[in-house]
Amino acid sequence: MKSEKPSTPDSTERTSEDTRLPRRTVLRWFAAAAAATQIPAFGGSGLGAAAPAAKGYGTDPDLSKFYQPGDFWPLTLTKAQRETVTALADLILPADHLGPAASEVHVPEMIDEWVSAPYAAQQKDRDALLPGLEWLEDESRKRFSKAFPSLSEAEKRAIADDICWPADAKPEFKKAAAFFLKFRSLAASAYYGTEAGWKALGYIGNVPLARFDGPPPEVLEKLGVEQTVAGG
């Protein structure tokens, strides 16, 4: 990382006050990319995870390199938290006919990178996701006297079914349901950014081609359209 002036959330907030920049608007744009739903907050903090890094990747990172989680800032989840993340990510994105499980393509590492990041939007997500993981473990012990990763598939589903859809969740599960949706969104954002995720969706681009032929005949036929551009 070769940035001379890394921007921390602290320093951007200070700039905001000094100059009356519309930080709220800007942060809203940033947050929009991360996740959609408004999350009712859990209480509590101090969950054992190390504090996130103070510095980001700077305004002038080396764009010629490929990166992986941990390259720019330390991952902060505890071993137990990572295990919970892995179990939940694999429940949402399991190995099946559409491809490998989330944990086989480093989704838990990417989630760890996300919640360990120094930026305001990610720290806000951290404040929503870490208590959610804690709730999941508490609920698992309460119902089955076991840690969530040790539950059977059916046991995991019993909990997930209660929290997977906020509109249907009972009042005592509303917060957990908001957490679940946010976690699903983040896990899917990571999973579908991998080679395996692309295959699972049917995205076959990002390769240089000698020519661009447009949609193939079977696509045109299915849509009932004809190619209207002669092309070059």
């Binding site: 579908y192 681009g205 551009v229």
Partner: protein
């Protein structure tokens, strides 16, 4: 001559050019190929798109899945470095606390300026667009007409390479035969749209974008661009031969190491440097234009950011191409006994009438596009088709409640996934497991989004001035912004929302418009479209304009404004092509003056 540091600058140049984007790049190109010695000041660092571009990164190969952060505000792989909506060392302020009265100011700080983050839309203004006040009594006419600028549109298109077709539509000009490159084939969702909105009377045609769908013809184009100048022809031909054609992969916003799309750093600056007539000083943050005893500009003071020291370059003429906002700031900060209110600002018009494009989007989901056989539609890294403004006659007949037009942009439905969930939170009712993955696959490719790109009319409430108190890190007064959309723009967006909903429904889909959504909460904030123009309007009356039809300051004849700042109006057509055409035209005038010894 080359990319240099302050200490290597020559004692005097013919022309100083502030800014290295579309306007500065075009001006440098034209002047140096005509033999003028130029120095270019760029406020950011040097940049080499051939080696510094993140072309093929998957989201999982970039931090935070390539999503925007305060450090990289359009995402990690976006070409822009050291820039964005907010640059901590270089603040700007807002006159109002109300978000709808604020301006979001995107500023790159790197060689190539805003041409690094650009959709490459290259639409010509039409004849109406130069005389809008004559048509509807609003805003300002230009002192030039379409025919005055047409030859320059053609030259720019030949130089940078623009694909598209000639459709002969009203106020949507054709290019001369053979100028445009062949358009890429249409994508599935574009064809489906085209077919199903015919009944609504909406045309869907190939867009014009600055992407090479085939290599430029280096054998014949240079002679058309520089007749009688074999030396210039050879330099331009060599530069054209280095550019590769599009290889139909990667988003143009990442930059292009093939040089297949237009960036100032791949098209304008290489031949300008090859002439040996251009020095570029990066990290040079311009502060003030200085005047000599004769009342003419003789130099530019700048902060060398690499040392923090103030420095100065001298020349016979000065071109400001720093973007509307920065050009306004430079003029206002250039105070002297002759110009106590800033250069060219005796009448107080510098900074007034800044415009952006009107933006607003509606998305939808089209069941017919679900489960299509997987196919690669990366294409030319941006839209292939678009909808030009199609209701000129209805507007003329008074049938619409807004006076100016908009065009509609859209991009691929099968674009690179990752960084966000392919299934929105509101879809698939809490599905997880294999059901979620199946739903995601079914939905992928069926999401469409349409966006307004419309004409904003200059108004009294949208302008920039110097903040009386706040200064940047180097002690230079910063801009304070004022902004207000009028009903002209809000009614346009309301029309767009209705139209997009009808388009999506015509395709059998469902529009994602929240109940209670209005134009006011769908219109993009001012500045958000990054089509900032105006602030130093050209006109035919020195009492009512800042510069003349040659982008030449009325008050100081050897200062030229070669960015969007002289625009008297901001047609729905994206401004970059017009900025380049005007810059070439102004540069020809500078060359003419230089040859007469008038600089």
């Amino acid at each position: 001559m080359a990319v240099i540091t302050t200490s290597k600058a020559q004692t005097e140049y013919d022309v100083i050019i502030v800014g290295s984007g579309a306007g500065g790049g075009q001006t440098a190109y034209t002047l140096t190929l005509a033999g003028l010695k130029c120095v270019m000041l760029e406020a950011g660092r040097a940049y080499d798109p051939a080696t510094q571009t993140a072309m093929f990164h998957r989201p999982d190969q970039a931090p935070l899945l390539n999503t925007p952060t305060p450090d990289k505000q359009m995402g990690f792989t976006d070409a822009t470095v050291d820039g964005g909506w907010n640059i901590p060392a270089e603040p700007y302020t807002q006159a109002s606390d109300k978000p709808e009265e604020q301006f979001q100011w995107w500023r790159p700080r790197m060689l190539g300026g805003r041409t690094n983050h650009w959709g490459r839309m290259s639409l010509r203004n039409g004849p109406y667009d130069f005389k809008p006040r004559s048509r509807d009594g609003l805003g300002f006419d230009w002192p030039i007409a379409y025919d005055d600028i047409e030859p320059y549109y053609t030259r720019v298109e030949m130089l940078i390479g623009v694909f598209g077709t000639n459709e002969g539509r009203e106020n949507t000009p054709n290019s001369p035969p053979g100028v445009l490159l062949p358009p890429p084939k249409a994508r599935a969702a574009e064809l489906y749209l085209q077919k199903h909105v015919k009944t609504l009377g909406i045309p869907v045609i190939p867009i014009h974008r600055a992407v090479l769908t085939r290599p430029l013809d280096a054998e014949t184009i240079p002679a058309k661009l520089h007749p009688g100048n074999a030396w210039a022809q050879r330099i331009v031909a060599d530069s054209m031969r280095v550019r590769g054609a599009c290889f139909w992969a990667t988003d143009c916003h990442r930059g292009c190491s093939l040089r297949a799309n237009y960036q100032s750093t791949t098209v304008h600056l290489p031949p300008a440097l090859a002439t040996g007539n251009l020095d570029i000083i990066p990290n040079a943050h311009a502060r003030e234009v200085t005047l000599g005893q004769d009342g003419k500009a003789n130099g530019v003071l700048y902060i060398d950011k690499s040392t923090g020291q103030e420095a100065r370059v001298r020349a016979k003429a000065v071109v400001l191409a720093a973007s509307s906002g920065e050009t306004v700031r430079l003029l206002l900060n250039s105070k002297s006994a002759a110009f106590p209110q800033g250069l060219g600002n005796g009448h107080g018009l510098v900074g007034k009438y800044i415009m952006d494009s009107v933006g607003g989007s509606v998305g939808g989901q089209i069941p017919a596009l679900e489960n299509l056989p997987p196919h690669n539609e990366d294409g030319a890294g941006g839209p292939h088709l678009y909808i030009p403004w199609w209701l000129y006659q209805e507007q003329l007949a008074g049938k619409l409640d807004f006076p100016r037009g908009y065009h509609i942009e859209f991009s691929s439905s099968r674009s690179m996934p990752g960084g966000r969930s392919p299934l929105g939170d509101d879809l698939a009712r809490g599905a997880y497991g294999t059901k979620f993955k199946e739903e995601a696959r079914r939905h992928y490719g069926s999401q469409v989004g349409y966006t307004v790109r419309g004409e904003m009319i200059a108004n009294e409430n949208s302008f920039a001035e110097l903040d009386p108190a706040v200064k940047d890190k180097w002690g230079i007064p910063v801009l304070r912004w004022h902004w207000r959309w009028s009903d002209h723009e809000l009614n346009m967006v309301a029309h767009g929302i209705k139209t997009f909903t009808a388009m999506i429904e015509a395709m059998g889909g469902k529009a994602h418009v929240r109940a209670g959504s209005t134009a006011k909460n769908i219109i993009e904030p001012g500045g958000k479209v990054i089509h900032e123009v105006g602030g130093a309007l050209m006109g035919s009356d020195p009492a009512k304009s800042v510069c003349n039809e040659w982008n030449q300051l009325w008050d100081v004849k050897n200062i030229f404004l070669c960015d969007g700042s002289p625009f008297p109006s901001n047609a729905d057509k994206n401004p970059t092509l017009t900025i380049m055409a005007l810059a070439w035209r102004a540069a020809d005038k500078i060359v003419e003056q230089a040859r007469k010894g008038n600089l």
